[in-house]
Protein backbone atom coordinates (compact mmCIF):
# COMPACT_ATOMS: atom_id res chain seq x y z
CA UNK A 1 0.00 0.00 0.00
CA UNK A 2 1.20 3.44 -0.81
CA UNK A 3 0.47 6.22 1.56
CA UNK A 4 0.30 9.69 0.13
CA UNK A 5 0.64 12.69 2.38
CA UNK A 6 0.83 16.22 1.17
CA UNK A 7 3.92 17.70 2.74
CA UNK A 8 2.51 21.21 2.77
CA UNK A 9 -0.48 20.14 4.84
CA UNK A 10 1.61 18.08 7.18
CA UNK A 11 3.80 21.02 8.04
CA UNK A 12 1.09 23.66 8.08
CA UNK A 13 -0.97 21.90 10.67
CA UNK A 14 1.97 21.58 13.01
CA UNK A 15 2.19 23.97 15.86
CA UNK A 16 3.87 27.31 15.58
CA UNK A 17 6.62 26.51 18.06
CA UNK A 18 9.82 26.48 16.14
CA UNK A 19 8.36 28.07 13.07
CA UNK A 20 10.71 30.63 11.68
CA UNK A 21 8.20 31.36 9.04
CA UNK A 22 8.49 28.59 6.56
CA UNK A 23 10.60 28.13 3.51
CA UNK A 24 12.19 30.81 1.48
CA UNK A 25 13.11 32.81 4.54
CA UNK A 26 16.19 34.99 4.15
CA UNK A 27 17.10 33.53 0.85
CA UNK A 28 17.15 29.93 1.92
CA UNK A 29 18.72 27.67 -0.62
CA UNK A 30 15.50 26.69 -2.33
CA UNK A 31 13.05 29.53 -2.83
CA UNK A 32 9.41 28.66 -2.86
CA UNK A 33 9.81 25.19 -4.24
CA UNK A 34 8.31 22.43 -2.18
CA UNK A 35 8.61 18.75 -2.71
CA UNK A 36 5.23 17.43 -3.66
CA UNK A 37 4.62 14.26 -1.79
CA UNK A 38 6.04 11.92 0.78
CA UNK A 39 5.55 8.30 -0.07
CA UNK A 40 6.05 5.55 2.43
CA UNK A 41 7.66 2.60 0.73
CA UNK A 42 5.73 -0.53 -0.10
CA UNK A 43 7.80 -2.66 2.23
CA UNK A 44 7.32 -1.06 5.60
CA UNK A 45 10.24 -0.93 7.95
CA UNK A 46 9.83 -1.82 11.58
CA UNK A 47 11.39 1.00 13.58
CA UNK A 48 12.49 0.00 17.08
CA UNK A 49 11.60 3.29 18.71
CA UNK A 50 13.82 2.69 21.73
CA UNK A 51 15.37 6.16 21.68
CA UNK A 52 13.99 9.61 22.36
CA UNK A 53 17.33 11.27 21.66
CA UNK A 54 20.44 10.72 19.59
CA UNK A 55 23.97 11.94 20.24
CA UNK A 56 26.26 11.55 17.24
CA UNK A 57 29.92 12.06 18.11
CA UNK A 58 31.96 12.56 14.97
CA UNK A 59 35.64 11.75 15.48
CA UNK A 60 36.45 14.06 12.62
CA UNK A 61 39.54 13.52 10.50
CA UNK A 62 39.50 9.86 11.43
CA UNK A 63 40.90 8.07 14.46
CA UNK A 64 43.44 5.30 13.88
CA UNK A 65 41.21 2.26 14.37
CA UNK A 66 44.10 -0.16 14.89
CA UNK A 67 45.20 1.79 17.94
CA UNK A 68 41.76 2.28 19.43
CA UNK A 69 38.49 0.43 18.82
CA UNK A 70 39.85 -2.29 16.56
CA UNK A 71 43.21 -2.76 18.22
CA UNK A 72 45.83 -4.71 16.25
CA UNK A 73 49.33 -5.28 17.47
CA UNK A 74 51.54 -3.74 14.78
CA UNK A 75 55.14 -2.61 14.29
CA UNK A 76 54.12 0.94 15.16
CA UNK A 77 52.23 0.19 18.36
CA UNK A 78 53.66 2.70 20.82
CA UNK A 79 55.83 1.11 23.49
CA UNK A 80 53.90 2.88 26.22
CA UNK A 81 50.61 1.21 25.28
CA UNK A 82 49.31 -1.11 27.95
CA UNK A 83 47.00 -3.36 25.99
CA UNK A 84 44.69 -5.57 28.03
CA UNK A 85 41.83 -7.87 27.25
CA UNK A 86 38.67 -6.34 28.70
CA UNK A 87 35.98 -8.53 30.32
CA UNK A 88 33.96 -8.04 27.12
CA UNK A 89 36.72 -9.78 25.16
CA UNK A 90 38.16 -6.85 23.24
CA UNK A 91 41.78 -5.78 23.37
CA UNK A 92 42.11 -2.16 24.36
CA UNK A 93 44.99 0.19 25.24
CA UNK A 94 43.67 0.75 28.74
CA UNK A 95 46.22 3.27 29.97
CA UNK A 96 45.36 5.73 27.19
CA UNK A 97 41.62 5.30 27.62
CA UNK A 98 41.50 5.25 31.42
CA UNK A 99 38.00 6.70 31.62
CA UNK A 100 36.47 4.92 28.65
CA UNK A 101 37.79 1.48 29.64
CA UNK A 102 35.24 0.90 32.43
CA UNK A 103 32.50 2.33 30.20
CA UNK A 104 33.25 -0.06 27.33
CA UNK A 105 30.90 -2.63 28.84
CA UNK A 106 28.06 -0.31 27.76
CA UNK A 107 29.38 0.00 24.21
CA UNK A 108 28.72 -2.19 21.16
CA UNK A 109 31.31 -2.13 18.37
CA UNK A 110 30.76 -2.98 14.75
CA UNK A 111 34.18 -3.37 13.13
CA UNK A 112 33.25 -4.01 9.50
CA UNK A 113 32.27 -0.61 8.09
CA UNK A 114 33.35 0.55 4.67
CA UNK A 115 33.10 4.11 3.37
CA UNK A 116 32.27 5.48 -0.07
CA UNK A 117 34.77 8.23 0.52
CA UNK A 118 38.44 8.65 1.23
CA UNK A 119 38.87 12.43 1.47
CA UNK A 120 37.69 14.53 4.41
CA UNK A 121 35.32 16.97 2.78
CA UNK A 122 33.36 14.27 1.00
CA UNK A 123 33.68 11.92 3.98
CA UNK A 124 32.36 14.51 6.42
CA UNK A 125 29.54 15.39 4.06
CA UNK A 126 28.70 11.70 3.88
CA UNK A 127 28.53 11.49 7.69
CA UNK A 128 26.25 14.53 7.94
CA UNK A 129 24.01 13.89 4.96
CA UNK A 130 24.04 10.07 5.10
CA UNK A 131 24.83 9.86 1.40
CA UNK A 132 27.74 10.62 -0.92
CA UNK A 133 28.16 14.20 -2.07
CA UNK A 134 26.66 14.99 -5.44
CA UNK A 135 27.32 18.68 -6.06
CA UNK A 136 24.66 18.78 -8.75
CA UNK A 137 21.89 18.61 -6.20
CA UNK A 138 23.65 19.09 -2.85
CA UNK A 139 21.62 22.28 -2.43
CA UNK A 140 18.41 20.36 -1.89
CA UNK A 141 19.85 17.66 0.38
CA UNK A 142 19.24 18.26 4.10
CA UNK A 143 21.48 17.02 6.89
CA UNK A 144 20.34 13.93 8.75
CA UNK A 145 19.70 16.02 11.87
CA UNK A 146 17.33 18.28 9.94
CA UNK A 147 15.36 15.32 8.60
CA UNK A 148 15.11 13.99 12.15
CA UNK A 149 13.97 17.43 13.35
CA UNK A 150 11.26 17.54 10.69
CA UNK A 151 10.08 14.05 11.65
CA UNK A 152 9.98 14.86 15.38
CA UNK A 153 8.29 18.23 14.91
CA UNK A 154 4.90 16.70 15.63
CA UNK A 155 6.17 15.48 19.00
CA UNK A 156 7.21 18.93 20.22
CA UNK A 157 5.38 19.93 23.36
CA UNK A 158 4.03 23.35 24.24
CA UNK A 159 6.84 23.84 26.77
CA UNK A 160 9.63 22.97 24.34
CA UNK A 161 11.76 25.97 23.45
CA UNK A 162 15.12 24.37 22.61
CA UNK A 163 15.94 23.69 18.94
CA UNK A 164 15.41 20.02 18.07
CA UNK A 165 18.78 19.74 16.34
CA UNK A 166 21.79 21.16 18.17
CA UNK A 167 25.41 20.71 17.17
CA UNK A 168 28.80 21.66 18.53
CA UNK A 169 31.71 22.79 16.35
CA UNK A 170 30.08 21.55 13.17
CA UNK A 171 30.65 24.87 11.41
CA UNK A 172 34.43 24.43 11.63
CA UNK A 173 34.16 21.09 9.83
CA UNK A 174 35.48 20.99 6.25
CA UNK A 175 31.93 20.99 4.85
CA UNK A 176 30.52 23.21 7.55
CA UNK A 177 27.00 22.68 8.86
CA UNK A 178 24.77 21.49 6.04
CA UNK A 179 21.61 23.40 5.24
CA UNK A 180 18.07 22.10 5.53
CA UNK A 181 18.02 21.52 1.77
CA UNK A 182 14.44 21.04 0.58
CA UNK A 183 13.13 21.23 4.15
CA UNK A 184 12.00 24.56 5.62
CA UNK A 185 14.63 26.50 7.62
CA UNK A 186 12.83 25.87 10.90
CA UNK A 187 14.54 22.48 11.00
CA UNK A 188 17.98 23.98 10.67
CA UNK A 189 20.88 23.02 12.88
CA UNK A 190 21.66 25.22 15.85
CA UNK A 191 25.44 25.08 15.75
CA UNK A 192 27.41 26.32 18.73
CA UNK A 193 31.04 26.83 19.51
CA UNK A 194 31.03 25.33 23.02
CA UNK A 195 33.46 27.80 24.64
CA UNK A 196 31.63 30.77 23.13
CA UNK A 197 28.26 29.34 24.08
CA UNK A 198 29.27 28.95 27.73
CA UNK A 199 30.12 32.65 27.66
CA UNK A 200 27.24 33.91 25.54
CA UNK A 201 24.26 31.74 26.49
CA UNK A 202 24.57 31.67 30.26
CA UNK A 203 22.48 34.79 30.81
CA UNK A 204 22.10 35.96 34.39
CA UNK A 205 18.97 37.54 35.82
CA UNK A 206 20.21 41.01 34.90
CA UNK A 207 20.79 40.05 31.27
CA UNK A 208 17.31 38.51 31.03
CA UNK A 209 15.75 41.65 32.51
CA UNK A 210 17.63 43.81 30.02
CA UNK A 211 16.35 41.70 27.14
CA UNK A 212 12.80 41.90 28.47
CA UNK A 213 13.07 45.66 28.80
CA UNK A 214 14.49 46.16 25.33
CA UNK A 215 12.09 43.63 23.86
CA UNK A 216 9.20 45.84 25.00
CA UNK A 217 10.59 48.74 22.95
CA UNK A 218 11.23 46.47 19.98
CA UNK A 219 7.72 45.02 20.01
CA UNK A 220 6.28 48.53 20.38
CA UNK A 221 8.11 49.70 17.29
CA UNK A 222 7.13 46.57 15.39
CA UNK A 223 3.48 47.12 16.27
CA UNK A 224 3.60 50.66 14.91
CA UNK A 225 5.39 49.58 11.76
CA UNK A 226 3.10 46.65 11.15
CA UNK A 227 0.61 48.40 8.87
CA UNK A 228 3.35 50.31 7.06
CA UNK A 229 5.27 47.12 6.31
CA UNK A 230 2.30 44.99 5.43
CA UNK A 231 2.38 43.74 1.90
CA UNK A 232 6.16 43.58 1.87
CA UNK A 233 5.98 39.82 1.93
CA UNK A 234 6.48 36.99 4.25
CA UNK A 235 10.18 37.57 4.74
CA UNK A 236 9.37 40.39 7.14
CA UNK A 237 6.90 38.30 9.16
CA UNK A 238 9.27 35.38 8.96
CA UNK A 239 12.22 37.09 10.55
CA UNK A 240 10.02 38.48 13.29
CA UNK A 241 8.62 35.10 14.26
CA UNK A 242 12.15 33.78 14.05
CA UNK A 243 13.20 36.49 16.45
CA UNK A 244 10.33 35.66 18.83
CA UNK A 245 11.50 32.06 18.95
CA UNK A 246 14.97 33.27 19.86
CA UNK A 247 13.63 35.53 22.58
CA UNK A 248 11.54 32.71 24.01
CA UNK A 249 14.63 30.52 24.10
CA UNK A 250 16.84 33.13 25.75
CA UNK A 251 14.31 33.91 28.46
CA UNK A 252 13.51 30.26 29.21
CA UNK A 253 15.45 29.68 32.45
CA UNK A 254 16.31 26.13 31.33
CA UNK A 255 18.43 27.40 28.43
CA UNK A 256 20.94 29.49 30.43
CA UNK A 257 20.88 26.75 33.07
CA UNK A 258 22.20 24.31 30.47
CA UNK A 259 25.16 26.58 29.77
CA UNK A 260 26.14 27.21 33.38
CA UNK A 261 28.86 24.74 34.14
CA UNK A 262 30.68 24.01 37.38
CA UNK A 263 34.42 23.64 37.86
CA UNK A 264 34.04 20.04 38.90
CA UNK A 265 32.23 19.07 35.70
CA UNK A 266 34.67 21.07 33.63
CA UNK A 267 37.52 19.13 35.21
CA UNK A 268 35.86 15.76 34.81
CA UNK A 269 34.93 16.26 31.13
CA UNK A 270 38.16 18.10 30.38
CA UNK A 271 38.46 21.80 29.64
CA UNK A 272 38.70 21.15 25.91
CA UNK A 273 36.38 21.68 22.95
CA UNK A 274 35.47 17.98 23.10
CA UNK A 275 34.93 18.09 26.86
CA UNK A 276 32.75 21.19 26.79
CA UNK A 277 30.74 19.84 23.83
CA UNK A 278 29.92 16.63 25.69
CA UNK A 279 29.16 18.50 28.89
CA UNK A 280 26.80 20.88 27.13
CA UNK A 281 25.20 17.97 25.26
CA UNK A 282 24.47 16.32 28.61
CA UNK A 283 23.08 19.55 30.05
CA UNK A 284 20.89 20.31 27.05
CA UNK A 285 19.42 16.79 27.08
CA UNK A 286 19.01 16.84 30.85
CA UNK A 287 17.01 20.07 30.74
CA UNK A 288 14.56 18.26 28.43
CA UNK A 289 13.72 21.48 26.61
CA UNK A 290 13.02 19.97 23.21
CA UNK A 291 16.48 19.07 21.89
CA UNK A 292 16.45 15.54 20.50
CA UNK A 293 19.41 15.27 18.12
CA UNK A 294 22.93 16.40 19.05
CA UNK A 295 25.89 16.27 16.68
CA UNK A 296 29.32 16.76 18.26
CA UNK A 297 32.36 17.26 16.08
CA UNK A 298 35.87 16.75 17.44
CA UNK A 299 38.52 17.89 15.00
CA UNK A 300 42.19 17.21 14.50
CA UNK A 301 42.45 13.45 14.08
CA UNK A 302 44.09 13.66 10.66
CA UNK A 303 47.42 12.16 11.62
CA UNK A 304 49.35 11.87 8.38
CA UNK A 305 52.56 12.75 10.14
CA UNK A 306 54.20 12.11 13.51
CA UNK A 307 51.12 10.45 14.94
CA UNK A 308 52.88 9.20 18.07
CA UNK A 309 55.19 12.17 18.55
CA UNK A 310 54.23 13.97 21.72
CA UNK A 311 55.91 17.15 20.55
CA UNK A 312 53.81 17.38 17.37
CA UNK A 313 50.71 19.59 17.30
CA UNK A 314 47.49 17.69 17.79
CA UNK A 315 49.32 14.39 18.19
CA UNK A 316 47.33 11.28 18.87
CA UNK A 317 48.06 11.31 22.60
CA UNK A 318 46.70 14.84 22.97
CA UNK A 319 43.49 14.07 21.10
CA UNK A 320 42.88 10.86 23.04
CA UNK A 321 43.35 12.72 26.31
CA UNK A 322 40.58 15.12 25.23
CA UNK A 323 38.33 12.42 23.74
CA UNK A 324 38.54 9.88 26.57
CA UNK A 325 37.21 11.88 29.54
CA UNK A 326 34.70 13.77 27.39
CA UNK A 327 32.87 10.81 25.91
CA UNK A 328 33.23 8.59 29.00
CA UNK A 329 31.77 11.29 31.26
CA UNK A 330 28.88 11.84 28.87
CA UNK A 331 27.96 8.15 28.82
CA UNK A 332 28.40 7.84 32.60
CA UNK A 333 26.26 10.89 33.30
CA UNK A 334 23.49 9.95 30.88
CA UNK A 335 23.38 6.57 32.62
CA UNK A 336 23.18 8.24 36.03
CA UNK A 337 20.45 10.71 35.06
CA UNK A 338 16.88 9.51 35.51
CA UNK A 339 14.68 9.94 32.46
CA UNK A 340 12.06 12.66 32.63
CA UNK A 341 9.93 10.97 30.01
CA UNK A 342 9.76 7.43 31.38
CA UNK A 343 9.89 6.64 35.08
CA UNK A 344 12.47 4.06 36.08
CA UNK A 345 14.62 4.59 33.00
CA UNK A 346 17.87 6.50 32.70
CA UNK A 347 18.56 9.14 30.12
CA UNK A 348 21.03 6.74 28.49
CA UNK A 349 18.25 4.15 28.16
CA UNK A 350 16.44 6.55 25.83
CA UNK A 351 19.44 8.12 24.10
CA UNK A 352 21.32 6.39 21.30
CA UNK A 353 24.98 7.45 21.40
CA UNK A 354 26.93 6.80 18.19
CA UNK A 355 30.61 7.58 17.81
CA UNK A 356 32.64 7.03 14.68
CA UNK A 357 34.97 8.60 12.12
CA UNK A 358 34.33 9.18 8.43
CA UNK A 359 36.84 6.40 7.64
CA UNK A 360 39.81 4.57 9.18
CA UNK A 361 43.56 5.06 8.92
CA UNK A 362 46.12 2.93 7.12
CA UNK A 363 47.15 0.04 9.36
CA UNK A 364 50.52 -1.72 9.69
CA UNK A 365 53.76 0.22 9.77
CA UNK A 366 53.68 4.02 9.75
CA UNK A 367 54.23 5.93 6.52
CA UNK A 368 57.51 7.72 5.66
CA UNK A 369 56.55 10.76 7.74
CA UNK A 370 55.59 8.63 10.71
CA UNK A 371 51.86 8.97 10.31
CA UNK A 372 48.87 7.07 9.03
CA UNK A 373 46.84 7.97 5.94
CA UNK A 374 43.17 7.61 4.98
CA UNK A 375 41.77 4.09 4.80
CA UNK A 376 38.17 3.49 3.80
CA UNK A 377 38.13 -0.30 3.48
CA UNK A 378 37.38 -1.19 7.07
CA UNK A 379 36.75 0.86 10.18
CA UNK A 380 34.57 0.59 13.29
CA UNK A 381 31.48 2.39 14.58
CA UNK A 382 30.47 2.38 18.23
CA UNK A 383 26.99 2.47 19.77
CA UNK A 384 25.70 2.87 23.32
CA UNK A 385 22.38 3.51 25.05
CA UNK A 386 18.78 3.04 23.89
CA UNK A 387 18.83 -0.67 24.55
CA UNK A 388 22.22 -1.37 22.93
CA UNK A 389 23.77 -4.48 24.45
CA UNK A 390 27.12 -3.41 25.82
CA UNK A 391 30.14 -5.54 25.02
CA UNK A 392 28.71 -6.71 21.71
CA UNK A 393 31.32 -6.97 18.96
CA UNK A 394 30.07 -7.40 15.40
CA UNK A 395 32.13 -8.02 12.29
CA UNK A 396 35.88 -8.32 12.09
CA UNK A 397 38.87 -7.07 10.16
CA UNK A 398 41.92 -9.13 9.22
CA UNK A 399 44.93 -9.51 11.51
CA UNK A 400 46.31 -6.17 10.37
CA UNK A 401 43.07 -4.21 10.29
CA UNK A 402 43.37 -3.75 6.52
CA UNK A 403 40.33 -5.49 5.07
CA UNK A 404 37.07 -6.86 6.38
CA UNK A 405 36.91 -10.62 6.96
CA UNK A 406 33.49 -10.82 8.58
CA UNK A 407 30.66 -8.39 7.89
CA UNK A 408 28.87 -9.09 11.17
CA UNK A 409 25.34 -9.05 9.80
CA UNK A 410 23.19 -11.01 7.38
CA UNK A 411 24.59 -9.41 4.24
CA UNK A 412 27.69 -10.26 2.26
CA UNK A 413 28.43 -6.58 1.77
CA UNK A 414 29.95 -4.49 4.51
CA UNK A 415 27.73 -2.03 6.41
CA UNK A 416 28.02 1.65 5.53
CA UNK A 417 27.08 4.99 7.03
CA UNK A 418 23.70 4.60 5.28
CA UNK A 419 23.05 1.76 7.73
CA UNK A 420 24.02 3.93 10.69
CA UNK A 421 21.46 6.41 9.38
CA UNK A 422 18.85 3.64 9.20
CA UNK A 423 19.80 2.59 12.74
CA UNK A 424 19.32 6.15 13.99
CA UNK A 425 15.92 6.50 12.28
CA UNK A 426 14.91 3.10 13.61
CA UNK A 427 15.93 3.92 17.17
CA UNK A 428 13.90 7.14 17.01
CA UNK A 429 10.87 5.28 15.69
CA UNK A 430 11.00 6.81 12.22
CA UNK A 431 10.11 4.78 9.13
CA UNK A 432 13.34 5.03 7.15
CA UNK A 433 11.92 3.63 3.90
CA UNK A 434 10.20 6.96 3.28
CA UNK A 435 10.87 8.85 0.13
CA UNK A 436 10.16 12.46 -0.75
CA UNK A 437 9.16 12.97 -4.35
CA UNK A 438 9.38 15.91 -6.72
CA UNK A 439 12.30 17.74 -5.22
CA UNK A 440 12.99 21.03 -7.04
CA UNK A 441 15.34 19.12 -9.36
CA UNK A 442 12.65 16.53 -9.99
CA UNK A 443 14.55 13.85 -8.12
CA UNK A 444 13.46 11.67 -5.26
CA UNK A 445 14.99 11.91 -1.81
CA UNK A 446 15.17 8.61 0.03
CA UNK A 447 15.56 8.83 3.81
CA UNK A 448 18.19 6.13 3.46
CA UNK A 449 19.99 6.22 0.15
CA UNK A 450 20.15 2.82 -1.48
CA UNK A 451 22.42 3.71 -4.35
CA UNK A 452 26.03 2.88 -3.56
CA UNK A 453 28.93 3.64 -5.87
CA UNK A 454 28.78 0.14 -7.39
CA UNK A 455 25.08 -0.67 -7.38
CA UNK A 456 22.40 -1.03 -4.79
CA UNK A 457 23.31 -1.47 -1.14
CA UNK A 458 21.22 -2.87 1.72
CA UNK A 459 19.28 -0.20 3.62
CA UNK A 460 18.76 -2.29 6.76
CA UNK A 461 19.31 -0.94 10.23
CA UNK A 462 21.89 -2.68 12.37
CA UNK A 463 20.02 -4.83 14.84
CA UNK A 464 22.95 -6.90 16.11
CA UNK A 465 24.00 -4.15 18.49
CA UNK A 466 20.90 -4.81 20.58
CA UNK A 467 22.07 -8.34 21.31
Amino acid sequence: MQEMIRVQDAFRTRRELLRYGGYGLLGAAIGGAWPGRVRAAETKTRPRGTARNVVFYEISGAISHVESFDFKDNPATPKDFEVRKLPTGIHFPVNFFPRLTPVMDRVAIMRSFVSHEEVHLRGQYYVQAGRPLNVAFAKEIPSLGSVVASELEGQRREKDTFPTYVSFNLESNQVGALSTGFLPPEFSVFDLNPAEAVKGMSLDQKAVELIEERWRVLEGLREIGRSRLSGFGRQIDAFESFSRTAKRLLTDPRWPAAFKIGDEDRKRYGNTAAGLSCLLARNVLREDGGTRYVHICQHGWDHHRRIWDRTADDNHYALISAFDPALASLIEDLAATPSKATAGKSLLDETLVVFMSEFGRTPGPLNHILGRDHHKHVFPAMFAGAGVKGGTVLGASDSEGRRCVETGWNHKSQPRIENVVATIFSALGIDWAKEVHSLPSGRTYAYVDKLGANGFIPTDDITGIYG
Binding site: V189, L221, I224, G225, E240, A246
Partner: protein, 166 residues
Protein backbone atom coordinates in the same frame (compact mmCIF):
# COMPACT_ATOMS: atom_id res chain seq x y z
CA UNK B 1 19.30 40.95 3.61
CA UNK B 2 22.72 42.23 4.58
CA UNK B 3 25.58 39.75 4.48
CA UNK B 4 27.95 39.26 7.41
CA UNK B 5 30.48 41.96 6.49
CA UNK B 6 27.78 44.41 5.36
CA UNK B 7 25.88 43.87 8.58
CA UNK B 8 28.92 44.45 10.76
CA UNK B 9 29.83 47.60 8.89
CA UNK B 10 26.23 48.84 8.97
CA UNK B 11 26.12 48.39 12.75
CA UNK B 12 29.49 50.13 13.07
CA UNK B 13 28.29 53.06 10.98
CA UNK B 14 24.92 53.37 12.68
CA UNK B 15 26.42 53.34 16.16
CA UNK B 16 29.45 55.45 15.29
CA UNK B 17 31.69 52.74 16.71
CA UNK B 18 33.95 51.50 13.90
CA UNK B 19 35.51 48.08 14.05
CA UNK B 20 39.10 47.88 15.18
CA UNK B 21 40.92 45.30 13.22
CA UNK B 22 44.38 45.93 14.57
CA UNK B 23 47.11 43.82 13.09
CA UNK B 24 49.69 42.58 15.51
CA UNK B 25 50.59 39.71 13.23
CA UNK B 26 53.93 40.51 11.60
CA UNK B 27 55.00 39.27 8.26
CA UNK B 28 58.42 39.33 6.71
CA UNK B 29 59.49 42.85 5.74
CA UNK B 30 60.55 42.88 2.10
CA UNK B 31 60.13 46.55 1.21
CA UNK B 32 61.84 49.36 3.04
CA UNK B 33 59.35 51.41 5.01
CA UNK B 34 56.98 48.48 5.40
CA UNK B 35 56.32 47.90 9.08
CA UNK B 36 55.45 44.26 8.51
CA UNK B 37 52.03 44.77 10.08
CA UNK B 38 48.87 44.40 8.06
CA UNK B 39 47.08 47.74 7.80
CA UNK B 40 44.67 48.63 10.55
CA UNK B 41 41.12 48.52 9.25
CA UNK B 42 37.82 49.74 10.64
CA UNK B 43 35.43 47.97 8.30
CA UNK B 44 35.02 44.22 7.88
CA UNK B 45 34.78 44.72 4.13
CA UNK B 46 38.34 46.04 4.03
CA UNK B 47 39.80 42.78 5.26
CA UNK B 48 41.38 40.27 2.95
CA UNK B 49 40.60 37.42 5.32
CA UNK B 50 38.35 37.33 8.37
CA UNK B 51 40.00 38.77 11.49
CA UNK B 52 38.85 39.94 14.87
CA UNK B 53 37.81 38.76 18.31
CA UNK B 54 36.13 35.44 18.93
CA UNK B 55 32.88 37.29 19.68
CA UNK B 56 33.05 38.87 16.25
CA UNK B 57 33.87 35.53 14.63
CA UNK B 58 30.82 33.91 16.22
CA UNK B 59 28.64 36.79 15.09
CA UNK B 60 29.95 36.79 11.54
CA UNK B 61 29.69 33.03 11.17
CA UNK B 62 26.04 33.13 12.19
CA UNK B 63 25.45 35.42 9.22
CA UNK B 64 27.33 33.24 6.76
CA UNK B 65 30.78 34.77 6.61
CA UNK B 66 33.01 32.86 4.23
CA UNK B 67 36.68 32.27 4.90
CA UNK B 68 37.61 33.47 1.41
CA UNK B 69 39.14 30.07 0.75
CA UNK B 70 35.81 28.56 -0.21
CA UNK B 71 32.88 30.21 -1.97
CA UNK B 72 30.56 32.23 0.24
CA UNK B 73 27.69 30.12 1.47
CA UNK B 74 24.20 31.54 1.38
CA UNK B 75 23.42 32.53 4.91
CA UNK B 76 21.62 29.57 6.42
CA UNK B 77 18.77 30.88 8.54
CA UNK B 78 19.06 29.75 12.11
CA UNK B 79 17.80 31.04 15.45
CA UNK B 80 21.40 32.05 16.10
CA UNK B 81 20.95 35.14 13.94
CA UNK B 82 18.37 36.94 16.06
CA UNK B 83 20.18 35.68 19.17
CA UNK B 84 23.35 37.32 17.91
CA UNK B 85 21.53 40.59 17.22
CA UNK B 86 20.05 40.50 20.71
CA UNK B 87 23.02 39.26 22.67
CA UNK B 88 26.33 39.74 20.89
CA UNK B 89 28.78 42.35 22.20
CA UNK B 90 29.11 43.34 18.52
CA UNK B 91 25.70 45.04 18.97
CA UNK B 92 25.34 45.42 22.73
CA UNK B 93 28.63 47.20 23.43
CA UNK B 94 28.15 49.56 20.55
CA UNK B 95 24.78 50.92 21.68
CA UNK B 96 26.16 51.89 25.09
CA UNK B 97 26.62 55.60 25.82
CA UNK B 98 30.38 55.37 26.00
CA UNK B 99 33.55 55.58 23.94
CA UNK B 100 32.22 58.34 21.71
CA UNK B 101 29.36 56.22 20.45
CA UNK B 102 26.44 57.66 18.50
CA UNK B 103 24.22 57.46 21.58
CA UNK B 104 26.79 59.25 23.72
CA UNK B 105 27.38 62.02 21.21
CA UNK B 106 23.66 62.60 20.70
CA UNK B 107 22.98 62.72 24.42
CA UNK B 108 25.80 65.22 24.85
CA UNK B 109 24.71 67.36 21.88
CA UNK B 110 20.97 67.65 22.42
CA UNK B 111 18.94 68.33 25.51
CA UNK B 112 15.73 67.60 23.62
CA UNK B 113 15.01 63.88 23.68
CA UNK B 114 12.94 64.21 20.52
CA UNK B 115 16.00 65.39 18.61
CA UNK B 116 18.00 62.45 19.91
CA UNK B 117 15.29 60.07 18.70
CA UNK B 118 15.17 61.76 15.28
CA UNK B 119 18.92 61.39 14.89
CA UNK B 120 18.89 57.77 16.07
CA UNK B 121 16.30 56.90 13.45
CA UNK B 122 18.19 58.77 10.76
CA UNK B 123 21.53 57.15 11.54
CA UNK B 124 20.12 53.64 11.98
CA UNK B 125 17.19 53.42 9.53
CA UNK B 126 17.94 56.42 7.29
CA UNK B 127 14.52 57.92 7.84
CA UNK B 128 12.57 60.09 10.24
CA UNK B 129 10.45 58.36 12.86
CA UNK B 130 6.70 58.21 12.46
CA UNK B 131 4.93 60.34 15.06
CA UNK B 132 3.92 57.21 17.03
CA UNK B 133 7.44 55.83 16.89
CA UNK B 134 8.83 59.14 18.06
CA UNK B 135 6.36 59.28 20.94
CA UNK B 136 7.19 55.74 22.03
CA UNK B 137 10.94 56.36 21.95
CA UNK B 138 10.66 59.68 23.76
CA UNK B 139 8.57 58.04 26.49
CA UNK B 140 11.27 55.38 26.80
CA UNK B 141 13.93 58.07 27.22
CA UNK B 142 11.73 59.85 29.74
CA UNK B 143 11.97 56.83 31.99
CA UNK B 144 15.75 56.85 31.94
CA UNK B 145 17.51 59.09 29.47
CA UNK B 146 20.70 57.10 28.96
CA UNK B 147 19.26 53.59 29.15
CA UNK B 148 16.26 54.67 27.11
CA UNK B 149 18.43 55.93 24.26
CA UNK B 150 20.52 52.74 24.36
CA UNK B 151 17.41 50.59 24.29
CA UNK B 152 15.95 52.54 21.39
CA UNK B 153 19.01 52.07 19.23
CA UNK B 154 19.19 48.40 20.19
CA UNK B 155 15.57 47.96 19.12
CA UNK B 156 16.18 49.78 15.83
CA UNK B 157 19.13 47.49 15.06
CA UNK B 158 16.92 44.49 15.78
CA UNK B 159 14.17 45.58 13.41
CA UNK B 160 13.95 43.62 10.21
CA UNK B 161 13.90 47.01 8.49
CA UNK B 162 17.54 47.50 9.47
CA UNK B 163 18.55 44.08 8.18
CA UNK B 164 17.02 44.80 4.79
CA UNK B 165 17.14 48.54 4.33
CA UNK B 166 20.28 49.98 5.85
Amino acid sequence: MLGAEELHDAIATATGRPGQFGAPRRRKVVVEGDTGNAPVASMAMQLATPRGSSDLKTFMQAFGQANRGTPARPSQPSPLQPIMLMRSPVVNERVLAEKDSRVQRLLDSYTDNGRVVDELFMSTLNRDPLPEERALAVTEMGRNRVEGAQNVQWALLNLVEFLYNF
